[in-house]
Symmetry: C2
Subunit: 295 residues, 2 copies
């Protein structure tokens, strides 16, 4: 099976998981259910749950057990996009080719839909922890990993740095630190969650951590390049927004050529980290995919 076919297979699994969650928790199709559904089922690449499923497969573990945690990560990612797009934050009108939540449902509902998705992510994880049986799995440690990645030392902290860096010249180190928290933390959580849940050994954990940190960085560098060189039609959101918002990016800090070099080096490091792991084929190609995507 080609990488693209495999990616599609994993993406479909993630999509089905999210659909079943929407069916269970957001059945009414109106009010807050509608707003949460709108953003959650807006497509997207589903990179985070795809990574979790892929690591599960690499470790030859049962995918179903990671489902509540991988889905929770995607819910947390989705809430963060809704809040990031708000007029008081990045003030974006389009996301994934569709009007953003506050454009469709109003600001108050967008804030609440985000709050609702964040809370639901925990509700789903805790409900899974409350299930009897499965006692060999490190469920609580997995949920804690995700909670720390999502919080003020992770994703939220990165968003704070982002807000504070607008119209201010930040250093290259600050830029790296911001993205390590803002996008990197949750990507790392998605990669490590199955390894923690199924009790993988320290060597696997540390190799996966290096892999995850580098694909997280690659993801952001590529994002910055796409904002300069991509097309709005493919991206589903306006290009050039970084320049418009005077945001520091890897491109603005390094220039386009050095940014491309760094992207290549980052992918190499990610691939190297997988060298001692068996069944690493998909994850190797995933690193390349993240660097070559056009949206």
């Amino acid at each position: 099976m080609s990488f693209n076919e495999k990616y599609r297979e994993y993406q479909d699994i993630a999509e089905n998981w999210l659909n079943s969650i929407a069916g269970k928790y957001l059945p009414s199709g109106d009010g807050i259910h509608e707003a949460m559904n709108y953003s959650l089922m807006a497509g997207g690449k589903r990179i985070r749950p795809v990574l979790s499923i892929a690591v599960c497969d690499m470790l030859k573990c049962d995918r179903d057990y990671i489902m509540p945690y991988a889905a929770a990560i995607e819910l947390i990612h989705t809430y963060s996009l809704i809040h990031d797009d708000l007029p008081c934050m990045d003030n974006d009108d389009f996301r994934r080719g569709k009007p953003t939540s506050h454009k469709v449902f109003g600001e108050a509902m967008a804030v609440l839909a985000g709050d609702g998705l964040l809370n639901l992510a925990y509700e789903i994880m805790i409900a899974d922890m409350a299930k009897k049986g499965d006692s060999g799995l490190n469920k609580t440690e997995t949920a804690l990993l995700i909670a720390e990645a999502a919080g003020i030392s992770g994703m939220i902290g990165g968003q704070v740095m982002d807000i504070k860096s607008e119209n201010r010249d930040i250093t290259y180190e600050e830029l790296c630190s911001m993205h390590r928290m803002k996008t990197g933390a949750m990507i790392k959580a998605a990669v490590l969650a199955p390894a923690v849940l199924f009790g993988a050994g320290d060597e696997i954990l540390s190799n996966l951590a290096v892999y995850a940190e580098n694909i997280g960085l690659a993801f952001q560098i590529k994002d910055d390049i796409l904002d300069l060189e991509g097309t709005g039609e493919t991206l589903g959101k306006p290009v050039g927004s970084d320049e418009k918002n005077k945001k520091a990016t890897f491109v603005s800090k390094l220039g386009i050529n050095k940014a491309r070099e760094l992207l290549d080096q980052t992918v190499e490091k990610a691939v190297e980290a997988l060298a001692t792991l068996e069944n690493n084929d998909f994850l190797v190609k995933m690193a390349v995919f993240i660097a070559r995507r056009n949206k």
Copy 2:
């Protein structure tokens, strides 16, 4: 010890718990830490953790075990106030006598401080669940109770109804349903959390549930009366905001006299529900306190 002395004792315990959480998780005193600290340590009556400690005492259980859950409830309550006060929601400038979060830190930081407190509430509960030992306690069930109360079927759902009811004539049933979710759900969770954690029997649980539902309702009726009759100085926020925002209240629906009657009946029902429980003295007086408070 008088009720007031006992309340103060419980309030101090709650304040110390929250202080230790702030010291551990929000040590830096700037950025998002400052914004989260500002709202979390703004005083307030601490009714929810006081209720949790009081139920703990009534059940003669160790208070320390309920701490992460009672504190989490207060963090969730605090985040909801920050988001409720936002310009796109109730647009309130003052809360507990101090400028609201977005007035001090700006809207973006207020959204993120709220997100940060919600996430931290779960981080604290999950970290407690991950501790070894204490295996006789129903930690996961307690966290699930809180998550469900905070979510779209509880507090967030109530806030959605509130937003949708502005400038629209809602029925008395809708008003009750809205408050049962918006304020009632988390008050009920605060009362039930210790009973669930320590594995109280079904009769105790169902009596406490009736008690909690009635003090939750009493709390809201009193809030509506205070908005009409209280003073801004004592309340720490402007009075008459319900009328200004054209919000349906128990007073606007029933008239002031009927609202007072309903308040008395509600307190009676709460007290009746405690009749078969031992050591109920503080909780009985708490119901009366909620109905007689002047802020």
